[in-house]
C-alpha cells in the first residue's frame, strides 16, 4: 500500500497544535468560511455525497442522518457531539480533542450550519480531564476571535458550544442515553421511535455525531466529497446494502503489541497489516491468538481471520458485530480466552444501565459463570448456557432497548464459537485463574 498522508492527524505533531493561531496558520476555519457561503442544504448534500459514515461505531451515514430532521422546523435544533469515548481500547477521539481541538470545533460549526442549529452540546467523557481543559481553552479562544457566538465570520450564523462533562458511564455513549444524561436524568437509553432527529434533546430535533465524524466533515468541506471517496473501499457489489467505506480512519491498536498507538489509515486496512506494519508486531515474538476488530463489544477475529479488511463491511463477514470504533486489541497466544472473555463480561456487566431485564440480568449472569469457571468450578454445559444467554439478549433478537447487550453478548458468542477448544481445555484441565475466594472477590470490580 502506498504511504498514506494523514489528514485528521496531520497537525498533531506540530508545536502548539491546539492553539487557534497555529490552526489558522495551517489554513484553519477556511472550511467553515466556505460552508457559510453555501446554503445549508448544499453542505448536507456534500456530506451525503461523500458517504461519510459515522465513526462512533454503528457506521450510519452522517449526511443521511442530517436529512432526517423535520423540514422547516421553527427550531431550536440541537447538535450533540458524542465525546463520551468509553469503548475499551478506543482513544482516537482523545487524541483529536487534546491535540487538534479546532479541527473538531470547525466541524461542529459546519455541521450546525448544515442542520440549522445554533447550539451544540459537547458531551465529554469525565475521565478526559486534559481534553476538557484543552477544549475549554479552545472554545474560549473561538469566542474571543468571533468564531463562536453571534454573527460568526460576519455571517448570519450564531453558535454556542456547551462543553458538558459526563459522570463516567459507558452507557452515556449511546445517543439517547447521552441525551437523557444531558437533560440531567439517569442515562437510560430511550425507546425508539421517536428517533432523536425528530424528538431528541429537550424534546427538540437533535443530531448526535461522533467527534471523529465531525472532524472528517471539516476536511470534506475543504477538499470535496470526491476527494473523500477517493480514499477507502468502494461498496461490495455483492452486498446491495453496503454503501462503501470511504475516507480516512483512526485505528487504535493496543494489547499485546510492541508499539501500541493510534494511526490514521484509509478504511479497509487488514488487521494483519495493522499489527505487523503499524504496531511493530505481536510482543515477545509471539503470535496473535485473537484480535478485537473494533472495541470489545464487536467480538473477536481468530488468527485465521487476520486478513479481514477493517472496513464497515469486513468484520461482519468474519462473524463479528461490525467495525465498531476500529479499536484493535491484540491477544497473544499465551493468554487464555477465558480470562479475556471474563474481562469483557465484567466490563459490560458493570456498565449495563440496568433498564432492560435481559441485559441487566444476563450480563451479570455471564460474568458469574465465568467467575466460577475461572475459580476452577466450570462445567462443559456452562459453555452452552453462556451461548444461550448470549443468544437471547440484545437488539438483534429484539430483547433490549439499546445495543449494549449486543455488545455484551457478541464477544461471548464469538469466543465460544471460535475458541471453544480453549474453554474446554481450561475446564477439563481444572485450571484456575483465581486461587482464593478473596481474589475472586477482589477481581469482581
Amino acid at each position: 500500500m502506498p504511504s498514506f498522508e494523514p489528514v485528521l492527524l496531520a497537525r498533531i505533531a506540530k508545536p502548539n497544535s491546539a492553539k487557534l493561531e497555529t490552526y489558522r496558520a495551517d489554513g484553519g476555519y477556511k472550511a467553515l468560511e466556505k460552508a457559510l457561503g453555501m446554503p445549508p442544504a448544499d453542505v448536507t448534500n456534500m456530506v451525503k455525497d461523500s458517504v461519510l459514515r459515522g465513526r462512533g461505531g454503528a457506521g450510519f451515514p452522517a449526511g443521511l442522518k442530517w436529512t432526517f430532521l423535520p423540514k422547516d422546523h421553527p427550531g431550536p435544533i440541537y447538535l450533540c457531539v458524542n465525546a463520551d469515548e468509553s469503548e475499551p481500547g478506543t482513544f482516537n477521539n482523545r487524541i483529536l480533542m487534546e491535540l487538534d481541538p479546532h479541527q473538531l470545533i470547525e466541524g461542529i460549526a459546519i455541521a450546525c450550519h448544515a442542520i440549522k442549529s445554533e447550539k451544540a452540546f459537547l458531551y465529554l467523557r469525565y475521565e478526559y480531564g486534559r481534553s476538557y481543559r484543552v477544549l475549554d481553552a479552545a472554545i474560549k479562544e473561538c469566542y474571543a476571535a468571533g468564531l463562536l457566538g453571534k454573527n460568526i465570520l460576519g455571517k448570519e450564523f450564531n453558535l454556542d458550544i456547551v462543553l458538558h462533562r459526563g459522570a463516567a458511564a459507558y452507557i452515556c455513549g449511546e445517543e439517547t442515553g447521552l441525551i437523557e444524561s444531558l437533560e440531567g436524568k439517569r442515562a437510560w437509553p430511550r425507546i425508539k421511535p421517536p428517533f432523536p432527529a425528530i424528538e431528541g434533546l429537550f424534546r427538540k430535533p437533535t443530531i448526535v455525531n461522533n467527534v471523529e465524524t465531525l472532524c472528517c466533515v471539516t476536511h470534506i468541506l475543504n477538499r470535496g466529497s470526491e476527494w473523500f471517496k477517493s480514499i477507502g473501499v468502494p461498496p461490495d457489489p455483492n452486498n446491495p446494502r453496503d454503501m462503501g467505506s470511504y475516507g480516512p480512519k483512526l485505528y487504535c491498536i493496543s494489547g499485546h503489541v510492541n508499539k501500541p498507538g493510534c494511526v490514521e489509515l484509509p478504511l479497509g486496512v487488514t488487521a494483519r497489516e495493522l499489527i505487523d506494519e503499524h504496531a511493530g508486531g505481536v510482543w515477545k515474538g509471539r503470535k496473535a491468538k485473537a484480535v478485537v476488530p473494533g472495541g470489545i463489544s464487536m467480538g473477536f477475529l481468530s488468527a485465521d481471520e487476520l486478513d479481514t479488511p477493517l472496513d464497515f463491511n469486513g468484520p461482519g463477514k468474519a462473524g463479528c458485530l461490525g467495525l465498531g470504533t476500529a479499536a484493535v486489541v491484540v491477544v497473544d497466544d499465551q493468554t487464555s480466552m477465558v480470562d479475556v472473555l471474563y474481562n469483557c463480561c465484567r466490563f459490560m456487566s458493570h456498565e449495563s444501565c440496568g433498564q432492560c431485564t435481559p441485559c441487566r440480568e444476563g450480563t451479570a449472569w455471564m460474568t458469574k459463570i465465568l467467575e466460577r469457571i475461572r475459580a476452577g468450578h466450570g462445567k462443559m454445559e456452562d459453555l452452552d448456557t453462556l451461548t444461550e444467554v448470549a443468544g437471547s439478549m440484545g437488539i438483534i433478537p429484539g430483547t433490549t432497548i439499546c445495543g449494549l447487550s449486543d455488545g455484551a453478548a457478541w464477544p461471548v458468542k464469538n469466543a465460544i464459537k471460535k475458541f471453544r477448544g480453549d474453554f474446554e481445555e481450561y475446564i477439563a484441565s481444572g485450571r484456575r485463574s483465581v486461587t482464593s475466594a478473596q481474589e475472586l472477590m477482589a477481581g469482581a470490580h
Binding site: G354, C356, T357, R360, E361, K368, G398, T400
Partner: protein, 559 residues
C-alpha cells in the same frame, strides 16, 4: 372500519382509538404478559416481557413481518397491523425473560405477602421454565423498611419495572422514589430522610407486580387466597373511588382501588385506603334499644320495629309539622328513598333535612411539583367533601321537597320545645353531632337514632337502631359528578346490628329480604332524576345519572 389481526383473529378498531398490542390482545381475550407497562403510566418498554411479533399488511394484501421481536406495550396497533403473540419465537423470548427475572429473585413465596396475586408467580407458571440454571449465589440487597410510613421495600424481590418510580413522578408528582446504582446492583431507593409519604403513596404497593413493595398495614396479616373480595366504593370523600374490599371471616383486611375509568381511574388515596379502621372499633353500637324514660326496655329487633312504627304514627298524627328527619350524607340513596318515602307517607308535612356534610380544606389535586404546587393536567383528586353520598341524598330530598331546615335549626326547635319527633341518621365515623345540638334534639318527645358509632345522643335516644358501616351494607352512592355506584356487603356487622337498608326495609313494611335493586327500580319509576336506575343493577363501573343511561363499557385495565 379499520381492522387489525391479533393471533390470526380480526379485531375491529374504533376510529380515533389508540391501542397498543397488549390492549388490542385484551380485546380478543388474550393476555400478553407484561410487568413495566401500566395503562396510567408512561411506557418504558424495559421489562421485555411483552415481546411479540409484529407485521404490516401491505396494499397488495401481503403481510410483512418485522424480523425482530418488538415490545407490545410500545407498538401501536393500526389498520393492517398483524400481531402474533403466541408463536414459538415469542414463547422462547418470554421464557428467557422470566428466567432472567427470577435469576436473582428470592424464592421466598411462602413468606411473601404477594404470593397468590404475584405476576412473577403467575407468569412463571404459565410461561417460565421449572428450574433456574443459576448455580452461583443470588444477589442479596438490603430490605428497606424506612422507605415510607405505610410501605416497606423487600429490595431483592424487586424486578426493576420502575412502575413505582414512574407513579411518584407522573401521578403524585412527588418523586420520592428513584433507581440508584447500575446494572444488576440497581435498587429502588429514596433520598435519605425523604420517605415516600405522600397521600397517594399506598398505590405503589398495588402497582408493584411482585412482593417488593408491601403495605405495612397488611403485612403478614393474611394470605391473599383466604381473602374474599367485594366490589364497593370508598366512602371517605365525594370522589367515590371504586374499591375492592378484601375480608376474611368478617374481618376487613384491606381496601384496594378497583380500576374505573369513569370514576377515579386506577388509584386511591391513603386516607381511603387505611381509613376504614373504625369498622372494627370497640366503640361500635352493638345492640338496638327501645328506651322509656332513659331506661332500656328491650334490645329485641322484633319488638323495636313494630313499636317504632306505632310511635312514629302516633307522633305524626299528633303534630306532623313538629316531626322531622335528618338524613346523613353517608346513607345510600336506597336508604334515603325508603325513609323519605315512608315519612312523607305518614304525612306530607314531616320535615326532611340533610345533616352536616363535613368538608376539610380544599380539593387536593395531584400531581404536584416539588414544592407541593398542583400541576395540570390533574390525574387524581382527594375531595374536600368528606362524605360519599351528599349528592345522592340531596337528589332524593329534592324530589320529596326536603325543607330548608338544618340540624342546627332543628336542635334550636327542640330546645324551644317545638319538636314532637326527630329521626336522626348518623353514619359519619368522624362525628356529626355537637353536644349542644344533642341537648336540644333530645328534648323532642320521640328521639330515633340510626347510627353505628356512639354520639352525644346515642344514650338518650328513645329508639336506637344499630346500623352498619359501608362494608356491611348494600346500596349505592352518588359521587361528586353524579356517578352512581353500588357498594356491596362485604362483612357481617357485630351481633345485634343490622344493615341500615334492612332496618328501613322492615320499618317501611316491605315484605321479604332487603333488595336494593328493587328499590332502585322503584326509584327509577317515581323519580325522574333516577331514571337511569331502571335496570336495577348499576354494572361494574356505575351509572352516570345525568346522562340517563349507562356509559359505554370500557376495557378493564389490568393492574
Amino acid at each position: 372500519m379499520p381492522t387489525a389481526i391479533i393471533n390470526n383473529q380480526p379485531l375491529e378498531l374504533k376510529p380515533g382509538e389508540q391501542l397498543n398490542c397488549i390492549q388490542a390482545a385484551q380485546r380478543i381475550g388474550y393476555e400478553i404478559p407484561s410487568y413495566c407497562w401500566h395503562p396510567a403510566l408512561s411506557v418504558v418498554a424495559s421489562c421485555r416481557m411483552c415481546l411479540v411479533e409484529v407485521g404490516d399488511t401491505k396494499p397488495d394484501g401481503t403481510v410483512v413481518m418485522q424480523p425482530k421481536l418488538v415490545p407490545g406495550c410500545q407498538t401501536p396497533v393500526k389498520e393492517g397491523t398483524v400481531v402474533i403473540a403466541n408463536s414459538e419465537k415469542v414463547k422462547a423470548a418470554q421464557k428467557a425473560t422470566l428466567e432472567y427475572l427470577l435469576l436473582n429473585h428470592p424464592l421466598d413465596c411462602p413468606t411473601c405477602d404477594q404470593a397468590g396475586e404475584c405476576f412473577l408467580q403467575d407468569y412463571s407458571y404459565k410461561y417460565g421454565r421449572g428450574y433456574s440454571r443459576l448455580q452461583e449465589p443470588k444477589n442479596i440487597k438490603p430490605d428497606k423498611d424506612h422507605i415510607g410510613a405505610n410501605i416497606t421495600l423487600f429490595t431483592d424481590r424487586c424486578i426493576m419495572c420502575t412502575r413505582c418510580v414512574r407513579f411518584t413522578r407522573e401521578v403524585s408528582g412527588t418523586s420520592e422514589l428513584q433507581v440508584v446504582s447500575r446494572g444488576s446492583a440497581e435498587q429502588i431507593d429514596i433520598f435519605p430522610g425523604m420517605p415516600c409519604d405522600n397521600k397517594l403513596a399506598g398505590n405503589v404497593v398495588d402497582l408493584c407486580p411482585v412482593g417488593a413493595l408491601c403495605s405495612k398495614d397488611f403485612l403478614y396479616q393474611q394470605r391473599v387466597w383466604w381473602l374474599k373480595t367485594t366490589k364497593s366504593v370508598c366512602p371517605n370523600c365525594s370522589t367515590g373511588c371504586s374499591v375492592d374490599v378484601d375480608q376474611n371471616e368478617d374481618q376487613l383486611y384491606r381496601l384496594t382501588p378497583r380500576s374505573n375509568p369513569i370514576s377515579q381511574g386506577d388509584f386511591m388515596c391513603d386516607e381511603g385506603r387505611f381509613g376504614w379502621k373504625y369498622i372494627h372499633s370497640d366503640e361500635r353500637l352493638t345492640f338496638p334499644a327501645r328506651r322509656k324514660n332513659g331506661e332500656v326496655r328491650t334490645r329485641d329487633w322484633d319488638d323495636i320495629i313494630p313499636s317504632l312504627q306505632k310511635a312514629l304514627a302516633k307522633a305524626v298524627a299528633k303534630a306532623p309539622e313538629k316531626c322531622a328527619a335528618v338524613f346523613s350524607p353517608w346513607m345510600t340513596v336506597e336508604e334515603a328513598f325508603m325513609l323519605a318515602a315512608y315519612l312523607r307517607g305518614l304525612s306530607p308535612k314531616v320535615k326532611l333535612a340533610l345533616g352536616p356534610v363535613k368538608t376539610v380544606g380544599e380539593d387536593d389535586t395531584y400531581p404536584k411539583d416539588f414544592y407541593g404546587k398542583p400541576i395540570e393536567p390533574v390525574k387524581f383528586t382527594i375531595r374536600a367533601e368528606k362524605a360519599p353520598n351528599r349528592r345522592g341524598v340531596e337528589m332524593v330530598l329534592n324530589h320529596f321537597g326536603g325543607s330548608a331546615t338544618t340540624l342546627g335549626d332543628l336542635a334550636a326547635d327542640g330546645a324551644a320545645g317545638k319538636l314532637e319527633a326527630i329521626y336522626l341518621v348518623g353514619g359519619d365515623p368522624a362525628g356529626w353531632l355537637e353536644p349542644h345540638q344533642a341537648a336540644g334534639l333530645s328534648k323532642a318527645a320521640l328521639v330515633i337514632l340510626q347510627d353505628f358509632l356512639p354520639s352525644a345522643i346515642s344514650d338518650r335516644a328513645d329508639f336506637l337502631l344499630t346500623g352498619g358501616s359501608f362494608a356491611e351494607r348494600d346500596g349505592s352512592f352518588v359521587n361528586y359528578k353524579g356517578l352512581a355506584q353500588e357498594i356491596g356487603r362485604a362483612i357481617r356487622g357485630p351481633d345485634g346490628t343490622r344493615p341500615d337498608g334492612r332496618i328501613l326495609w322492615d320499618l317501611t313494611g316491605r315484605k321479604g329480604l332487603f333488595n336494593p335493586a328493587a328499590i332502585r327500580k322503584e326509584m327509577a319509576e317515581k323519580i325522574p332524576a333516577f331514571a337511569a336506575f331502571k335496570q336495577g343493577a348499576l354494572g361494574e363501573f356505575g351509572v352516570l345519572l345525568n346522562e340517563h343511561g349507562a356509559p359505554e363499557a370500557h376495557v378493564v385495565a389490568k393492574t
